[in-house]
């Protein structure tokens, strides 16, 4: 274990971990309000990446219904990222209207929302394939303008390399995390959010329009998911409509590891899993996919409520 390897792994882990955190926060927000996991979050992640791609590049490839159709304009990367995130937020709202609200209104078994959100995920993913094909899409190399692809420096004689995409990933994620934390702790809406999370009925009595609020939360969750998708997509390419599935699952591990419903927990969980993956020795790389779940399993056995989750006292 050389110092260079340590620093390299640390940088890699922090960068990917911060995106995990952004993505997982989308899960957490919904969970803290409805107590339900939104299985369509991974699909919104994918959708966000596709939307940003469409905005930044202007067209899709040769398969699918949109083959040959191109947008009359293209946007530079950062506006595209923001607009793509906004549109993904709208998709998040659609998920709420389609999969969650009808069930809530009918007072159905909460578990059923897992299945209906899965149904929406199925629709979204296959719709993407129907429209844009199953092809791989990658953002053009000059997506960030004239920046070099990587910066290399030396530690104790060994090279440590940081890719520009990684830095942007990390920076954007940090800004989003910081902004969200600030909004939740300081703004009126943030306080209301916490009130609804605490108790939906009380919040309704306090004059908060709960339905509207839930819709807003889904919007925010969609923005987070969609932007995380774009960030991962710019760094590694969009590997087709099933792009988000693996991340969706990993995101679940992140939020449970951190403690369900805990916002700092989601951030911590993301970083722990990102670092866990990065520090896995190279000759064990075939076990990488197991890292989040082994960590999750271990933490749950020691702390059933997750790292930062609150212990639920049974009320008698």
């Amino acid at each position: 274990m050389t110092p260079a390897w340590f620093i390299q792994s640390l940088l890699n882990g922090l960068s990917i971990g911060s995106v995990y955190a952004v993505f997982a926060l989308g899960y957490t927000l919904v969970f803290s309000i409805l107590g339900i996991i939104n299985f369509a979050h991974g699909a919104v992640f994918t959708l966000g990446a596709y939307l940003t791609y469409a905005l930044a590049v202007g067209s899709f490839g040769l398969n699918g219904l949109l083959a040959g159709v191109s947008l009359p304009f293209t946007l530079p990367f950062f506006p595209a990222l923001l607009l793509g995130g906004f549109l993904a937020g709208l998709a998040g709202m659609a998920v709420e209207r389609l999969a969650f609200r009808p069930l809530r209104r009918r007072g159905a078994d909460a578990l059923l929302a897992l299945v209906s959100s899965l149904g929406v995920a199925l629709i979204l993913v296959n719709l993407i394939q129907y429209l844009a094909g199953a092809e791989i899409y990658a953002f053009p190399a000059d997506v960030f303008g004239g920046l070099p692809p990587a910066v290399i420096f030396r530690v104790a004689g060994k090279p440590v390399a940081v890719r520009t995409a990684q830095i942007i990933l990390f920076a954007v994620s940090l800004i989003m995390l910081a902004g969200l934390m600030w909004a939740i702790s300081r703004t009126r809406a943030g306080k209301a959010l916490r009130a609804v999370a605490e108790n939906t009925d009380t919040a309704a009595l306090l004059g908060i329009n709960v339905n509207l609020f839930i819709l807003g939360t889904f919007f925010l969750s969609g923005v987070l998911g969609g932007m995380a998708g774009t960030l991962i997509g710019t760094s590694y390419g969009i590997s087709g409509p099933y792009f988000g599935v693996a991340y969706g699952l990993k995101g679940l591990a992140v939020i449970v590891l951190g403690g369900l419903g805990s916002i700092p927990g989601a951030v911590l969980g993301g970083l722990v899993i990102g670092l866990g993956e990065a520090f896995l020795p190279a000759d064990m790389s075939s076990w990488k996919e197991a890292v989040p779940f082994v960590l999750l399993f271990a933490v749950l056995l020691i702390r059933p409520q997750g790292l930062l989750g609150e212990r639920m006292e049974q009320k008698v």
Binding site: A99, G119, L122, V256, L260, E289, L300, P304
Partner: protein
């Protein structure tokens, strides 16, 4: 009729096979425990059968046992599932609700990665050319059918006997059940392990059924599909997973004429089923029949 069975024989057997997986999720749900570990056990059971069926070291044993090799494979899968089920269930069932579900998903994922890393499991290609028990895939109903009958019989029988009521009481109110002298850990682990065993044996039967076995059998999608069978079918009756599997397994086939948009509609049906059949197919049937009876009584 011939064409029907030759075209849809596999599908029929598949429905029964998936219904078994649905039931393996249904059992722990009886005690209110949402476990998605089944698919991990299904995958492992399949590997047990696939390895026993193809490994050269066991050629002599296969030779001498003939058809009895299959029951031996089931037995081995059963024993492995029970041991592992206990090892996983005891610590994991302390968790509640969604935590439990996610811990069991984690378990299935870890199984998947582990299997990929075990040379005996054949890496990503998996194991193929697994000896067949029957000529026709439909005939595998002779494997799955009796197991389904057994699984259903146990489920219905449980509704009528003491231990079954005790299991249900945990779903209703775990704390009150404990205060009524119910050893809750035992009665949570019991249906969990039974579900694991069912999934394991189903896997062992499925390896020859599919003729090939690989790590992709144990994916997250498959886990969630099992849960969907139960919830769409109805979580309050053992028929639920059966009807749920019948609907969800045959749906993509029914939608085949739609070609590449069929999976979109599949998703739409899933959402609609959740919204309009909140108590599942069985729940909708029973309230319908209740209403019809009500109409009849009112008329007479």
């Amino acid at each position: 009729m011939d064409v029907f069975f030759s075209s849809y024989g596999f599908l029929l057997a598949m429905v029964v096979q998936q219904a078994l997986l649905g039931l393996s999720v249904y059992y722990p749900l009886l005690a209110g425990q949402l476990s998605l570990a089944s698919i991990g056990f299904y995958s492992l059971g399949g590997y047990v059968a696939a390895i026993m069926g193809t490994h050269p070291a066991l050629a002599a044993l296969r030779e001498s046992l003939g058809f009895w090799m299959f029951p031996l494979e089931w037995l081995c899968a059963l024993v492995l599932s029970i041991i592992l089920g206990l090892a996983v269930g005891l610590p994991v069932l302390r968790l509640r609700g969604i935590y439990l579900a996610l811990a069991t998903i984690a378990f299935a994922q870890v199984v998947n990665v582990t299997v990929l890393n075990m040379p005996i499991a054949g890496g990503a290609v998996g194991i193929f050319a697994i000896p067949q028990a029957f000529d026709s895939r439909l005939a595998y109903l002779f494997f799955f059918g009796p197991l389904l009958v057994l699984a259903l019989a146990v489920a219905f029988r449980l509704e009528r006997i003491g231990p079954g009521r005790v299991i249900l009481s945990i779903r209703e109110d775990e704390l009150a059940a404990a205060a009524m002298g119910v050893p809750t850990t035992y009665y949570k682990v019991l249906p969990f392990v039974w579900g694991c065993a069912l999934a394991g044996v189903t896997g062992a039967m499925s390896a020859p059924f599919l003729n090939t076995w690989n790590a992709r059998q144990g994916t997250f999608d498959a886990s969630v599909a099992c849960l969907a069978y139960v919830l769409i079918g109805g979580a309050r009756s053992p028929w639920g997973p059966v009807f749920g599997a019948a609907l969800l397994v045959s749906l993509p086939e029914v939608l085949r004429p739609l070609r590449d948009s069929r999976m979109i509609l599949n998703g739409v049906v899933l959402v609609l089923a959740c919204v309009y059949l909140p108590r599942g197919i069985v729940g909708a049937f029973s309230s319908l029949s209740r209403r019809m009876r009500g109409v009849k009584e009112a008329a007479s």
